[in-house]
Symmetry: C2
Subunit: 140 residues, 2 copies
């Protein structure tokens, strides 16, 4: 097998980086910061081996980060999961609060988009007229 992988359902840090979109630096950083649920397994030589469960968790992390969840909240979430069953209500509250923020963010972006679209329209119309005259608003 040329492209190592050992087929033991575990991946090297490089492969994990590829699959998650995170850099190897970021993966080590996340681990140091306590953002992973379990400790990452290691080979006898000390190299990290990521399981499918690790990768799934990382993919969730990526989505939460991408939608703006701060690392501190992600860490809190990881801690809750790490502590095991019993705190599901708190996990739910955390996710739910984040979802609200995402919704608000989407609404804000949509408003921005409409303002920008209007500006684009102003210029497009201006140019369609053959840019003969300057825009009425000197700062448009």
């Amino acid at each position: 097998m040329t492209t190592a992988e050992t087929r033991e359902e575990s991946l090297s840090i490089g492969e994990t980086a590829e699959r998650t979109g995170l850099s190897v630096h970021a993966l080590r950083f996340y681990e140091r910061e306590g953002l992973l649920v379990g400790p990452v397994r290691r080979t006898t030589g000390g190299r990290r081996r990521y399981t499918a469960v690790d990768v799934d968790w990382l993919l969730i992390c990526v989505k939460l980060r991408e939608s703006g969840m701060p690392l501190a909240d992600l860490k809190r979430f990881a801690e809750l999961v790490r502590r095991g069953p019993g705190n599901e209500p708190e996990r739910l509250r955390l996710l739910d609060a984040h979802q609200q923020r995402v919704d608000a963010q989407i609404r804000a972006l949509e408003e921005c988009r409409s303002v920008i679209a209007w500006k684009v329209g102003v210029y497009a119309e201006h140019l369609a007229r053959g840019e003969a005259e300057g825009l009425w608003d000197p700062r448009a």
Copy 2:
């Protein structure tokens, strides 16, 4: 008039901050960075006075920033406007490119939202069952 304003259609930096949502620090910072189209007028005493045109531009800036436009692009846009008529196609390209990014961002956020919503659903369902048994996925 107790709450100064002089009614000469110009605002102090503090009033401008209130109306735009930017801090007075940010207003001075934006000015230093060349993000404003024209030089801000000053009183004889050296205090800034913002006109309605200034405020309108700032409101656009706020929307562009809120939707993720980097200060460098905003600066570029301000420069184009400052140079006056003739470069409208370039302004349009700049805005249009940004709009594309905003659209992509909205789509990305919507995907994140659906992943999060699914996770929330998993927890909600689990809790509805009376949290009798742990989640099948130890890292959910």
